[in-house]
Amino acid sequence: MDFSSNVASQLNAGAILPEGIVIITLMLVLIIDLIVGRSSARWLPYLAIAGLVAAVVSLGLICDSPNTDAFLGSFSNDNLGIIFRGIVAVSTILTIPMSIRYVQQSGTSLAEFISIMLTATVGGMFLCGANDLVTVFISLEMLSISSYLMTGYMKRDPRSNEAALKYLLIGASSSAIFLYGVSLLYGLSGGETNLTAIAAKLANLGSNESLGLAISLVFVIAGIAFKISAVPFHQWTPDVYEGSPTPVVAFLSVGSKTAGFALAIRLLVSAFGSVTEEWNFIFTALAILSMVLGNVVALAQTSMKRMLAYSSIAQAGFVIIGFIAGTDAGYSSMIFYLLIYLFMNLGAFTCVILFSLRTGTDQIAEYAGLYQKDPLLTLCLSICLLSLGGIPPMAGFFGKIYLFWAGWQAGIYGLVLLGLITSVISIYYYIRVVKMMVVKEPNEMSDVVKNYPAIRWNLPGMRPLQVGMILSLIVTSLAGIFSNPLFTLANDSVVSTPFLHSAVVTQKASPETIQVLTTSIQPELDIVTE
């Protein structure tokens, strides 16, 4: 084998083709905006969507590739990463249509907003596949810094500024903590940055260093929990969600969170594979706190965005159940739920954006009697919220029941029962909004709804919003009943991802075999992938 082909196979640059497409789209958006000026804002969003769709298609093309290592092992191209990258990209595809009208109405530049959002997407996608501490940190920062920028994008709105500052301060400190944990990991593993190599080194760690390992684990989890906004690292969520532009919130609640979960799986299962018990324990605590606190505090919210913030905290708690289960079924139920959560949550946010575009408010009380004036919005928001609450036959019901089923099979009854109980609580606050819209009589209608503007879909930027809304409505109501393809997708990606399997084996093996297994992971990887 000659040198150049050897380098090419080591680099395996095709693995980041989707990210490449997104980066090219991003640059095109920037340059075209620079050359053509503001008039290009009419079609730039569609260019961005086209680029993202192309990225998703290319993800489909590169899946099942035999050579999963790219860039000398610092980026992994396995199917698990691919599906997470897909979820991040699709969440942006759905977020852009809802932001066009919103950004234009606020009088800020659309092209810049889209380019920042694409940057965040690239960061998120890289994070889903990152297999090296340096890649992990850089892509994490890329995602975070673009998110700070986006939250403060409505620069004339003091609340948006406040949200950005809060997010920046808390986010930066969490990044610092995460980096500290990572640096400890680097030291403990004797200077390795590759996650697989770290796992092998950590397995042979003596008992002296176990304290260091524990500190490193806790710090890393703190960083991840901040991204997925699990209690007690959630304090930023309600304030940031309330103050930021709503499309940004939609992205944070789905895209950013998905990337966080991908990071959690990769970092904890592969690098911290030798301390599975410990991080299982920590994540159990996070799940319990998130489900209880998220659902209970959501009951008291009067602002729709704050309610959705707490609901997203609670939903993260549900997803963690699948993660702790640690089985194939657990991981695929997680992916399945995230796929469905993507549509139902973004659908709900689209409706909230539409309502606030037409009325200028997010207060739950102001939704009273909406069915009279806007039946489509009412239907879509009701379906999405009922799905989030897990009412059959909506998609959320199937997602939730599969998470609980996987958790139950893995033997974490306590968590599953808690999940069941807290989902009853969640039905209450979701249905409260539905009740507000549907049940209230015309004479109980809120003033805002009384003065509801005539529905016009032909305003610039409204059509894509409508398309996004109806798409999420259809997927949310039908994806559960016809869930076989989606599930097969989730399951195949988990089954064909080697590092999860070696981890699954490790968990069930006796202490002696762990060492053997973890040290022999590297050569086995090649065998498994073939």
Partner: protein, 484 residues
Amino acid sequence: MLSALILIPLIGSALVGFLPDKEGKSSRIIALFSAIATLVINCYLGLHFNTEISGFQFSEYLPWIEWLGLDYSIGIDGLSFPLVCLNSLLTLIAIIITDRSISRPRFYYAMLLLLSSGAAGAFLAKDLLLFFLFYELEIVPLYFLIAIWGGERRGYAAMKFLLYTAVSGILVLASFLGLVWLTGADSFAYEALRSQTLPIGSQLLLLAPLVVGVFIKIPIFPFHTWLPDAHVEASTPISVLLAGVLLKLGTYALLRFGLGLYLRAWVEIAPWMALLAGISALYGASCAIAQKDMKKVVAYSSIAHMAYILLGASATTRLSVTACVFQMVSHGLISALLFLLVGVVYKKTGTRDVDSLRGLLNPEKGLPVTGGLMILGVMASSGLPGMVGFISEFLIFRGAFPIYPIPTLLCLVGTGLTAVYFLLVVNKVFFGRLTDGLSSLPPVKWIEHTPAFALLFLIITFGIQPAWVIQWSEVQATALLTGG
């Protein structure tokens, strides 16, 4: 064929919901048509149903979500067939007695049909998870039906119903998940799970949440508090459906899953359940005596009458279990009739308060036909011979007495009290001098009484010829007890 029972109301509901309907007439017609169509299919099934064999008939199977072990598999047997018929009949009646000028007719009929479809699905399901899906499916439509078209405190009552039923749902789900996990089965199919041989301890552990969940739904004291609220606030057609069909979901699950899956554990806790049934019957009856609202009286009498089913199910004799199915039908018919008539009185007089009504039986100015029907309904409910209530209650007591004499005696006292509270109501409301405030009542149209006459006809027919109902379930009841 069976799927049509689920699909026709479902499609009807979608049609009503999405077709434009300016005058509010076509929704009612579509709803009526789908209800009649399901009833016709029921008649067809009845003609071809083989009463000689146990087990499911007309089964249909479609693989659905394999990874969850959830299959679309439905069928009817002697346990579910009478209830499916009851559901179709009462849905039709509920649509007929709905006010023609009801507000938001499209949404109303769509929800009503969805409710009927959900109940039918739950009765037909042969898969535990499928049952749960339909069991949960009826919650939201019923929530809306109470919360939008209900009385003054409808929001409170609807939310209370929703939360109680949701809790009941998760308890049932937890029990199902546990059963499948403990047996190591790879699907939720009912027939396969019946042959489980779990140790008695785990069976008890699984039976407990199921029973508690179902007690909330039936409802059995002390889990009953949502029912009086829901009934009082719901409009008449919804009360008819709630009492006639939806409460039966609870007792059906009790027999189908409690008794059917965990027979050995069932026998262990049966004495306690029988005692609870006795207490519940007495409690319901005593509460009914104290009520001033006619609808509340009927609601509490519902609690008492549903408790007899629990008594019959705990006794686990062939006679008592057969009688349980019969009592479900009989209670469905009688309580529907009573709610319907209370609805007529309320509509004409504007009140249900026992103290402010008087002398409605007055042949010229009052509501003589309603009063007459009410007296017959009350007779049926208190178990007068010749009516359906007598046979079903007598059979239950006859089957349960040798096994649980004291709880049966408690229930017998409850039956005696039924006569007391209903006679108190009838005496105050229908006899005596018509008060002046009520003297110019609008006349009752014959169409408003037709459903009541139809129900009364069935009540008397089945009272004289009980074999027509019992023949459906006799074989299946035996099979349920022998595990066959």
